[in-house]
């Protein structure tokens, strides 16, 4: 839904405990017309959706977000900070449920989002 519109995946690589996706935000996406007029802030729910779309790339399947144990928005993300972000994902698959732990950070390791939740494969 949002990949190649709201955000772009530059590359991804395996890490010690999962995958790290290098991404960038498109500051010209129309959502910023309304969130908020004259004061662009990246919607938290779009960060959740970016995590979902990275997970779907890993598991090569569409999915449904069925639960969020906890998702914290630690720093406000704005599109001008979106040139060089990393979505770090660790996941485990059991009976068509993917349990995901993820963070969105920038190159200076400033944390914007921490996420723990579950996706059901379609």
């Amino acid at each position: 839904m949002l990949e190649n519109k709201y955000f772009y995946i530059n590359s991804s690589e395996a890490t010690d405990n999962g995958h790290s996706f290098s991404i960038r935000l498109d500051a010209n996406h129309p959502v910023y017309n309304g969130h908020f007029p004259g004061n662009p802030v990246s919607p938290g729910v779009c960060s959740i959706e970016m995590i979902k779309e990275c997970v779907e790339r890993l598991v090569k399947s569409d999915s449904i977000l069925v639960s969020i144990n906890q998702c914290r928005f630690i720093n406000v993300l704005t599109p001008d900070k979106g040139d060089n972000l990393f979505i770090k994902v660790s996941s485990s698959l059991e009976d068509s449920i993917v349990k995901v732990s993820s963070t969105i950070v920038d190159a200076n390791d400033i944390v914007y989002v921490t996420f723990k939740g579950e996706f059901q494969l379609k």
Partner: protein, 144 residues
């Protein structure tokens, strides 16, 4: 003085700073000091609709805006008319999708119950229904 308890149409913009394409509440009614009910009719051109299906981020955004509208409503009640407060989601907890995601044309109805307000952080629980079926429940912290 009559207290306005119901907002709809353009009046919603008195409670929220969000605008098209991400305005996700179209009706609001205060039930009492702690409870409100907010609604959204999902149009097929909603930015969170894909092939006629409303997606999870739209649902969560709708819940957050329902509470954000309530925070502004409560501020108007206690402090008088003012511009909408800028609300950000601080935390989402215990989100459970309880039934299949709604389709375009569905009318969401979300009940927000405020649990606590500490400084600028409002903690609340939410239940979203379509008709009689519960679509999702969650808890959130909203900071303004």
């Amino acid at each position: 003085m009559d207290i306005i308890k119901v907002y709809k149409g353009e009046d919603i913009k008195k409670l929220l700073n969000q605008r098209s394409p991400i305005l996700m509440v179209d009706t609001f009614e205060a039930v009492n000091d702690e409870v409100c009910i907010a609604g959204l009719t999902i149009n097929a051109d909603n930015m969170f609709c894909v092939n006629g299906g409303f997606k999870e981020p739209g649902l969560i955004e709708h819940i957050a805006q329902s509470a954000s509208a309530f925070v502004t409503y409560r501020a108007i009640q206690t402090q008088g008319d003012q511009n909408p407060l800028l609300g950000f989601i601080g935390e989402v907890k215990k989100f459970k999708l309880q039934s299949p995601l709604p389709c375009a044309g569905s009318e969401l109805s979300t009940t927000i119950t405020i649990q606590s307000v500490v400084m600028n952080i409002t903690m609340f629980s939410a239940e979203t229904r379509v008709g009689d079926s519960v679509v999702a429940t969650c808890q959130m912290k909203l900071s303004v």
